[in-house]
Symmetry: C2
Subunit: 229 residues, 2 copies
Amino acid sequence: MSRKTFQRLSLDVRRRSLMEATLTCVARHGLHGASVRRITEEAGVTVGLVRHYFGSKDDMIRNAYAYLVGQLTAQASESARATEGTPEAKLASFLRANMTKPNMDEETVSLWATFIGRVRHDPGFAEIHRDGYREFLNVLEILIEPVLIQHGCPYSVTICRNHAIALNGLIDGLWMEGALNSGLYAQDILPDLITGAAERLLDLPAGALSAPDIALQSTQHPTQQSKPS
Amino acid sequence: MSRKTFQRLSLDVRRRSLMEATLTCVARHGLHGASVRRITEEAGVTVGLVRHYFGSKDDMIRNAYAYLVGQLTAQASESARATEGTPEAKLASFLRANMTKPNMDEETVSLWATFIGRVRHDPGFAEIHRDGYREFLNVLEILIEPVLIQHGCPYSVTICRNHAIALNGLIDGLWMEGALNSGLYAQDILPDLITGAAERLLDLPAGALSAPDIALQSTQHPTQQSKPS
DNA sequence: ATTGAAATTATTCAATTGTATAACAGTGTG
DNA sequence: CACACTGTTATACAATTGAATAATTTCAAT
């Protein structure tokens, strides 16, 4: 009877692998079903490593939650950043990204909800949530601001922030209910639905975000912030 | 050493008491920390009763979830029904109710999120969620329809339903993030924020929902559906 | 090749879990 | 007042849990 053979992996790789296994197990079995044994089996290691890389199971789960939140906001921001064109195109891309794969994923939403349920009673979770929420609001504000200015909408820091709060609510709610896919409507109506809703929320003219080819118009479109070069 | 004295309670009372204790424990310790022993201690009974009134712990939790959802939608609908006046007043009241106590409660949101996290993997939870969501959408549609008609907005069943989906998303998202109260803004901005956002979402004139005394104007206001009596 | 540090496994432990079973006691019925 | 029904308690039990410790193995440095 020989021991299991194994590789020594770098700290980063092993930690990430454990956190990902944690997320998989939490999504699949809930927090109550994500035992150390199941998680380590999923990661292909033995239970002792949890203690070695994280102080305890709870610590590992908190780290996994932070890892998830980081990924989520990073993906969302990235989809906006990668879109070249008018501010409207960037904002629209951000919104649509949240209503399509891989962002709108049933398993991710399950995970997110499970962790949200612990925010109230675990200060560690609360901090992670707050940081993620703040980050998301900031990204939204930065996306919204130039759009408002360009359309001559009433503008102030407060207005912009309130729009971000409302828009974030809209995204969160649609993201969640949409991903759970209760079968009451087709998921693929959501990208158009959210761009239309966002237009109205921000008091933009109809079509400002939903025009099919705003991304194409963008590069030579004269409505950009004038750059004197 | 004598036995614990006890009362024989009716089936309904005992079941409800157990479900409420279940909700309390899930909110407080999460699904993983809500053990049969903790729940029954919270309810002031011994563990055997779980088997007696529900087949198993899982069955009891599912019943508790359905009980919670029922209460939530009932409270929300009731707050709209109880408001007399214009359709705008009813809708505004419904929206504001979701942004204030007792509906917007941190513990309730924690509970709700925890259960949502199980919807994907437990068909029983999925069914309960779907029914609750459908009910909420229906209530919203019924509230939205007369408002749209009265303002001469473009109207169809599809438009109304899409507005309900978007508005529900907005409510859900603000309800959750607001209740978690991450400290990034004051919770008491939310009632005004959501009525303003809803006005724009539905393309109503500014102030249609946020006028401070629409409820008072309502009874003798001529803009009501003409009633020939 | 040897060595030494530490990453990883294997095993143990007490505590807690959900469920099952048996004994008891409250309560309405005759 | 005795009875029987069943709601309720008490206890037992195997399984699982998270954490701790000791024993090994890998791998880089020499």
